[in-house]
Amino acid sequence: MPFDPHSIRDQFPILASEVNGQPLVYLDNAATVQKPRVVLETSLAYYEETNANIHRGTHHLSQKATAAHEAARDRIAHHLNAASPDEIIFTSGTTDGINLVANILTGSISAEDEILISALEHHSNIVPWQMLAQRTGATLRVIPVLEDGTLDFGAFQDLLSPKTKLLAITQVSNAFGTPVPVKDYISAAHAVGSLVLVDAAQSVAHKVIDVQDLDADFLVFSGHKIYAPTGIGILYGKTSSLENLPPWRGGGEMIKEVTYESSTYNELPFRYEAGTPNIEGGIALAKAMDWLSDLGLPSVAAHEQLLIETAAASLADVEGLRFYGPSHRQGSLSFNIAGIHHYDLGTLIDQMGVAVRTGHHCCQPLMNRLGTTGTVRASFAAYNTMEEVEKLVNAVKKAAMMLA
């Protein structure tokens, strides 16, 4: 039986909101997704029933909080099929995870080395590598994008060499919804001895991730894109890739012993979790991943796919409308209408109660490459319906008429 979004909509209190007197049509899910009541209740219950600092206290609540936090780590490891919960590091989000990896690799990169990223990356998967290149003197190279918004795999193979020390690549483009066959990229990069970081921010809510099957060294994502709160994220780090790397942030929790002269550092994963973590966020994230898994991620993804394809087919007859990215998209549909500024289109669509994103989507180099300053992006989640797709299409058509 196909997945019915109406069966879950009342689990999302915010979806009952009105905008300009019209029911909210929330299609900005690639920016952040709304949270089901079970996740909101998990956050509240944590503070009402469990709150204490973890890993230190001998008292009952501290032990309860520690157990809940570590159980969350176990659940998340299970959902990602990590070999061990020790490979799951709590971060504040995708950006935090990327910065962590970029910093601990500083000592492993020298001036002759190369860092490879793709032209589809979000600014947060560009700038930390640029900074790493500046610190080490290494060269940043970019896998080019083709006219259809996919990556040029041949050019990628040409860029690979023994100098390549790290490949940082997205699994799904946030700007265009382009899915990237990262497994092929990972095995090719490993063949020249490079490490690989996968940015799963835009994929984690739309496809089952198996880190062992992918064989990535590092994989990062944000909780708020997978029905969990903001301020929590995950860095998966393969034990063999992470165990010999130095710590980054210093503080409590990440140490074994401290003297004024020197300190010894904790084991994985705690070595990378200095300070009191976002305990509630981690627990809520595990709950959100349980919720999505129980719902059936493959059937949710098939439903989202149907919404995207219907929206694309219905918008295709709008005069001058151009889609970005390949015809197979994941999560997001990105477009422009010739002669109309994306900002104007977004403003008018918003007036009609439809929330989309307009602009460069934190991908300025990519926008420059495709000769635009930005696009309109509609992005979908489990709770979006066919009626909402129709409202989007009608809103775009009406706005285009007003601006023509």
Binding site: N20, H341, Y343, T347, L348, M402
Partner: protein, 151 residues
């Protein structure tokens, strides 16, 4: 039929305040946001495009999400404005200001109360970034007038 003496007198608005009132009267004809937006969009379409060679970085108003160029000239004691934007709604918004301030003296422009824009009912329908852009535009137009004030 009305005799000529009974005809209401329709004098053209001359001062900034009169022009502002005329704009507000026009906008009040519209019932809903769609019509008001359409009116602003049409103002944008009607505003004479700025020659492309004048669309230079020094004429860009910084801080707007869309690109807005502003230019001005001074003749016979009056300031004349030219403006353009790649966003039609933004262009319509700046056309509102141009209509009110164009052809006025620097002193009158500097003293003009630009809060009339709050009464247009447009601001409620603007994203905060757009509302900020309006403030920036009005400020820039006054800056240009300051440059001419001593001449």
């Amino acid at each position: 039929m009305l005799s000529p003496a009974q005809k209401p007198t329709l004098s053209l608005p001359v001062t900034i305040a009169e022009k502002q009132q005329q704009l507000l009267d026009e906008l009040n004809l519209f019932q809903d946001w769609t019509e008001r937006y359409q009116y602003v969009i049409d103002l944008g379409k009607k505003l004479a495009p700025m020659p492309e060679d004048l669309q230079t970085p020094d004429r860009l108003i910084k801080g707007c999400q869309s690109q807005v160029w502003l230019d001005s000239s001074f003749a016979d004691g009056k300031v004349n404005y030219a403006a353009d934007s790649d966003s039609l709604i933004t262009k319509g918004m700046i056309a509102l200001f141009v209509r009110v301030l164009d052809g006025q003296t620097p002193d009158d422009i500097l003293q003009a109360d630009m809060s009339f824009i709050d009464q247009t009912g447009l601001k409620e329908h603007l994203a905060p970034t757009r509302a900020n852009a309006l403030t920036l535009m009005a400020g820039q137009m006054k800056q240009h007038a300051i440059a001419f004030a001593g001449k």
